[in-house]
Each structure stands twice: as structure tokens, then as C-alpha cells.
């Protein structure tokens, strides 16, 4: 039983990997960026768990900057993905420009809140 589920899991994993290899590079870059942002957020949460949340605003701004930028990256991925029918007419450069602008606004707010 366990072995079959283990093998099923392995099979699932392999299929996921192969499917993922087919995605275009741009999307992979965006995915990598999202992963990086989330990972940074996780490290900050671990740090707060260790030392306590004294400058709470700083902690929040750090975590939220990572999460915010991850969210924006996800939005960019959606807009750039050619398989998405809704955003067919949106040029990817436009989406990227929006991404850059939103990131800049987010980081301004974050820097203000950082204290």
C-alpha cells in the first residue's frame, strides 16, 4: 500500500517535472522570482519567531514587501502567459511596465513603513 502510494507520488512528481520543463523561459524566470520572494519572507518569519516581534512595523514591512512583490509577479505571469485567453491583446511589455510601476509604489510604501 505504502509502496504503491509512494510510487504514485513519484510518478506524479515526474510528470509534473516534465510538464514544467515545457513552460517558456520567461514564465520560469517569473516563477523563480516568486520563489525567491516567498523564501525571503519565510526567513524573516523565522527570525521574528526567534527574537520576538519588537519593531513590529519593521517585521510587517519586510514580510509584506516580499509577499507583495510575489503577488505582483504572479499577476505579471498571468498577464504574460500566452495560454491565457483574456490577456491575449495585452502586450507583455505593457504588463511588465505595470509590474515595475506597482513594485516601485509598493516599495515606497514599504520604506515608509519600515521606520
Amino acid at each position: 500500500m505504502a509502496r504503491s502510494t509512494g510510487k504514485d507520488a513519484q510518478a506524479l512528481f515526474h510528470s509534473l517535472r516534465s510538464a514544467y520543463a515545457a513552460t517558456p523561459t520567461t514564465l520560469k524566470i517569473i516563477d523563480l522570482y516568486v520563489g525567491f520572494a516567498v523564501f525571503t519572507a519565510l526567513i524573516q518569519v523565522v527570525y521574528m519567531a526567534i527574537v520576538g516581534s519588537f519593531p513590529f512595523n519593521s517585521f510587517l514591512s519586510g514580510v509584506l514587501s516580499c509577499v507583495g512583490t510575489a503577488v505582483l509577479a504572479v499577476c505579471l505571469r498571468i498577464q504574460v502567459n500566452k495560454d491565457n485567453k483574456e490577456f491575449k491583446d495585452l502586450p507583455p511589455e505593457r504588463a511588465f511596465a505595470d509590474f515595475v510601476l506597482c513594485n516601485l509604489v509598493l516599495h515606497l510604501v514599504i520604506m515608509n513603513f519600515l521606520g
Binding site: 527574537v51 520576538g52 511596465a97 516601485l104
Partner: protein, 510 residues
């Protein structure tokens, strides 16, 4: 009543204008009315007479001064124009004169005018001229050997006719039946225009007396012209030096009553004494007082006051028997009254009376008092009044207690985590390289390349601005700079990206 006065004035004006034609019967009727009017005169206890309105529902309530002055004016005006005399007793006129003299100086100008005008009418009126007996001084000092002086004048101070002034009786206010002087005629000093009595009998001791005077006009024909009244009572104070002698202060043992320390006090001088006592002992102060004639004298005030260093005070009355004055403070019973406060108590003696020329209030020394410790439930001494100016002095210093700072993690840990946080960035870059990110699409030709470079630089500049903002700038300067940078970036970015877009479109179409 005020109108009756005005009516009389008016009537007298009419009569003076047409004196021969007036019917005497009518004048007689008016005279009767005047007599009836004076029957309603009111009287104070001190013998002054006045008129006051009975009806209260007048629009303006005139006081007794205005009413009386109106009646006086009318009366004097009318009596000056008729030939016969009015049938009024001089006592009432004298009483009214005393009323005007007794009210002092009225505050109102109208009242003042009424007062002075009425006195001027009474000065020379045809009914009867009141004569006032007054004393320039009602205090006779035995030490200065004053003599009794009496003045008799009209109401406005003019000279009176020759009179005989007799001191009918003089008696002490405490012993009214026993009159010391009887029927002594006063001599007249024409220079000062006073009647005086030179030598008081030797039996006059200090104290309060009442002198009763009577005056009589010497010329019998003039006696109806002037109103002298019957008897005039005047309170007189006879003052003198009271002898205080044999003053002693002693500390006694409570049980046996034996004298432990005794010191003589010099109450007339400035010296002070100091004694010490504990709660088992008594303090006794004694002295003797006598009048210049050697009689016993009981002063109005004889107090002993003990004041502690903390300004807590206790006052005791010095009792007397005959000439001897003595007070004994038994500290055993007074321990609780003194709030168990030990220490130095200033002793202050007060002896005073109105007829005593040498009243004294003196600090005669201090007593060191040793009292036991207060028990748990002893009453605290009452709080003493604080000097009101201390509230303007410096206040107590306030030390601000800052909030204890939060526990910060050790610096090494923070630095370690800083490094740890930067690591994912490197991971990202390494991942990018592994994915084989292509920089091929980076435009190589001059103008778009510049724009692309500037675009990247612009983004870097904005991020640098954010770092500066965190480090030291404030929001306003940041926003101002951001405006400029943002506009610049948008222009450049638009150029670059549109170039890229057109390039990819060309690629797609191609």
C-alpha cells in the same frame, strides 16, 4: 408725611405773602394738625426722634431722613411766619436734632443735603432751639490727671447762652446704685467755652462709669426758647496704670507639689526666662495685679499661650482670686491635648483691658517640655496654615522614568539573519543563470540601447532613492524627487518597452 412737610413749607410761603388777610381760625387749625403730626413721631432707644412713612406702597420709598427733614423744614418755615408759638415740647425738637446729628455723614448727596439743611433750620428756629451737650473726650486718664470737660453748643456748633451745667450723678457701670459724685456744678472756662470739673474725688478708681448731666439756661426768660432736655447720660472710661507685681514662674513636682525651679519674671522689662519640665511636673505662673488705688482688678483678657516649634498653639485663661492671678498647667493631664509633641514651647502672656494703660502681650520665655511617645491611636496635631507664598517657590523635582527598552536580540544573531536574508537573492541569480536567461534581446543599436540602459539606471535610481528615504530623507523630499524620477522613468521606459514591443511584433509578424 413727607408731603405734609412740603405742604407746610408751601403754606408758610403763602402766609408770608399775605399775612394780614389770613383767617386766624385756619392758622389755628393748621397748628392743631401740626401737634397731631408730632404725636406720630417715632423714637429710637437712645432718645432720638424721627419721622417715618407709615404707608409702604409709595413709588419711591423715602427713608426716615428725608421724611424727617421735610417735616422739619415745613415746621420751621411755618413757625417763622405765624405770630403765636406752637404748642410743641422741646424734647421732641431736641430728639429730632439728635437724630440728625447721630447719623454721621450720609453717603448720598441728597441725604447729606437733607441733614445739613435740617440742622440749619433747627439752628435758629422759632419753636425751640436745641442745645447739645457733648464731651471732647470720654476717656479720663488718672496718670495724666485729666479733667472732665463738657461743651454745650447749638446743633451747628454756635455758642449757647450762659448755662448751668450740673453733674447730677456719677456711678460705676457695675454698681449703678452707688453714686460717687452727686450734684456737682461744673465751672465755665470762657476762653475755651467749656464747662469743666477740675479735681475728681480721690475715690475714683479705674473702670467704666456713667456720668449724668443736666443743663439749665441761666436766664429764665430764655428757657422756653431753648430745648435742653432733661438728663444726658454719657459713658466715661477712667484709665490708669495697673500695677503688676510678684510675677513668678515655677515648675512643680506633680505628686508632692514641691517647687523644683522657680524664676522671677520681670513683666515690665524685656528679659525672658527658660525652664524645662517633663510630663510628670506642673508649670505654675502667678502674679498680682492692683489698681492705682490698691483695689483688686480683673482684666478683660488674661491668657497664657504655649506655642510649639511646629507652630501648634494652646491657649489657657489665667484664673484669679482677688488680686492674685495664677495658672497651673498639669502636664500629666495635658499630654494628649498637646498631641504628645515634645520640644520647645514659647510662652506668651497677654493681659489687657480697656482701662488698663499698660496692657501687655509679651513673650516671657520658653519651656522645654519632655512628653512621652504618642501611642498608636493618638490624634495628630491639626495641620498648620502654610505660608501662602510657598506655592510660588520651586516645586519638587520630577524624575521621568523612561519605559524600559525592549529586549533586543544579540547583534551577531541579527547579522547572521541579515546574511541569511540576502542569500535567496543570490539563489535567484544563480537560478536565472541556470535557466539560461537570454540577454540577447538587449538592443544593440545605439539609441534604443541608450534608452534601455537609462531605463535600468532609472529603476536603480528609484530604488536608491528609497534606500536614502529609509536612511535619512523625509517623505516630502522623497516624493518630490520621486515625481521627477518617476516622470523621467516613465518616458524612458515607454520608449524602451515600445521599442521592444515593436521588435517582438516585427518578429512575430515576420
Amino acid at each position: 408725611m413727607i408731603f405734609s412737610g412740603i405742604a407746610l413749607e408751601a403754606l408758610s410761603g403763602v402766609v408770608s405773602l399775605a399775612s394780614s388777610e389770613i383767617d386766624q381760625f385756619m392758622i389755628g387749625a393748621v397748628k392743631n394738625d401740626i401737634v397731631k403730626l408730632f404725636d406720630s413721631v417715632e423714637k429710637y432707644d437712645d432718645g432720638t426722634f424721627y419721622f417715618d412713612e407709615k404707608l409702604v406702597n409709595m413709588r419711591e420709598q423715602q427713608g426716615p431722613l428725608a421724611t424727617t427733614s421735610s417735616v422739619v423744614r415745613g415746621l420751621t418755615a411755618f413757625s417763622s411766619v405765624i405770630t403765636e408759638s406752637l404748642n410743641l415740647t422741646g424734647d421732641k425738637i431736641l430728639g429730632i436734632a439728635k437724630f440728625f446729628l447721630g447719623i454721621g455723614i450720609p453717603g448720598d448727596t441728597k441725604n447729606f443735603f437733607d441733614q445739613v439743611d435740617s440742622l440749619a433750620c433747627l439752628e435758629n428756629n422759632r419753636v425751640s432751639i436745641p442745645l447739645i451737650l457733648s464731651l471732647p473726650s470720654t476717656v479720663i486718664s488718672l496718670t495724666k490727671k485729666d479733667s472732665l470737660k463738657v461743651k454745650v453748643n447749638t446743633v451747628l456748633g454756635s455758642h449757647a447762652p450762659p448755662l448751668t451745667v450740673t453733674l447730677v450723678r456719677a456711678f460705676s457701670s457695675s454698681a449703678r446704685d452707688n453714686s460717687i459724685i452727686e450734684n456737682q456744678e461744673l465751672k465755665f472756662d470762657p476762653q475755651d467755652a467749656v464747662y469743666f470739673l477740675d479735681d475728681l474725688p480721690a475715690s475714683f478708681d479705674v473702670g467704666e462709669y456713667i456720668f449724668v448731666f443736666k443743663m439749665l439756661v441761666q436766664d429764665s426768660e430764655q428757657q422756653t426758647v431753648y430745648a435742653t432736655g432733661t438728663l444726658t447720660q454719657v459713658p466715661i472710661y477712667v484709665t490708669g496704670l495697673i500695677k503688676i507685681e510678684n510675677a513668678k514662674i515655677a515648675v512643680l513636682d506633680s505628686d508632692l507639689g514641691s517647687v523644683e525651679t522657680q524664676k522671677k519674671l520681670d513683666l515690665a522689662g524685656e528679659s525672658t526666662v527658660s525652664v524645662s519640665a517633663n510630663h510628670l511636673q506642673k508649670l505654675r505662673l502667678s502674679f498680682q495685679m492692683s489698681t492705682p488705688l490698691g483695689n483688686a482688678f480683673k482684666p478683660h483678657q488674661a491668657f497664657l499661650r504655649l506655642r510649639h516649634e511646629t507652630k501648634v498653639e494652646h491657649t489657657f485663661v489665667v484664673g484669679s482670686s482677688g488680686k492674685k492671678f495664677e495658672i497651673t498647667l498639669d502636664f500629666l493631664g495635658l499630654v494628649e491635648k498637646f498631641f504628645y509633641l515634645s520640644g520647645r514651647y514659647d510662652i506668651q502672656l497677654t493681659v489687657g483691658d480697656a482701662v488698663m494703660e499698660n496692657s501687655l502681650l509679651r513673650d516671657i520665655g520658653y519651656v522645654e517640655l519632655d512628653l512621652p511617645e504618642p501611642p498608636e491611636n493618638a490624634s495628630r496635631p491639626p495641620p498648620q496654615p502654610v505660608d501662602p507664598y510657598t506655592r510660588y517657590g520651586p516645586k519638587a523635582e520630577i524624575t521621568h522614568i523612561f519605559r524600559a527598552p525592549e529586549k533586543r536580540p544579540p547583534q551577531e544573531l541579527s547579522l547572521a539573519f541579515l546574511v541569511l536574508t540576502i542569500l535567496p537573492l543570490f539563489g535567484f541569480i544563480i537560478g536565472l543563470l541556470r535557466l539560461g536567461v537570454n540577454l540577447k534581446n538587449f538592443p544593440t543599436s545605439a539609441v534604443p540601447a541608450t534608452f534601455a540602459v537609462i531605463f535600468h539606471l532609472g529603476i536603480a535610481a528609484v530604488l536608491l532613492l528609497y534606500v536614502l528615504f529609509w536612511l535619512k530623507l523625509d517623505l516630502f523630499t522623497t516624493l518630490k524627487t520621486l515625481c521627477f524620477l518617476g516622470v523621467f522613468l516613465m518616458v524612458v521606459g515607454h520608449r524602451t518597452l515600445s521599442h521592444l514591443a515593436s521588435a517582438s511584433a516585427k518578429l512575430k509578424s515576420a
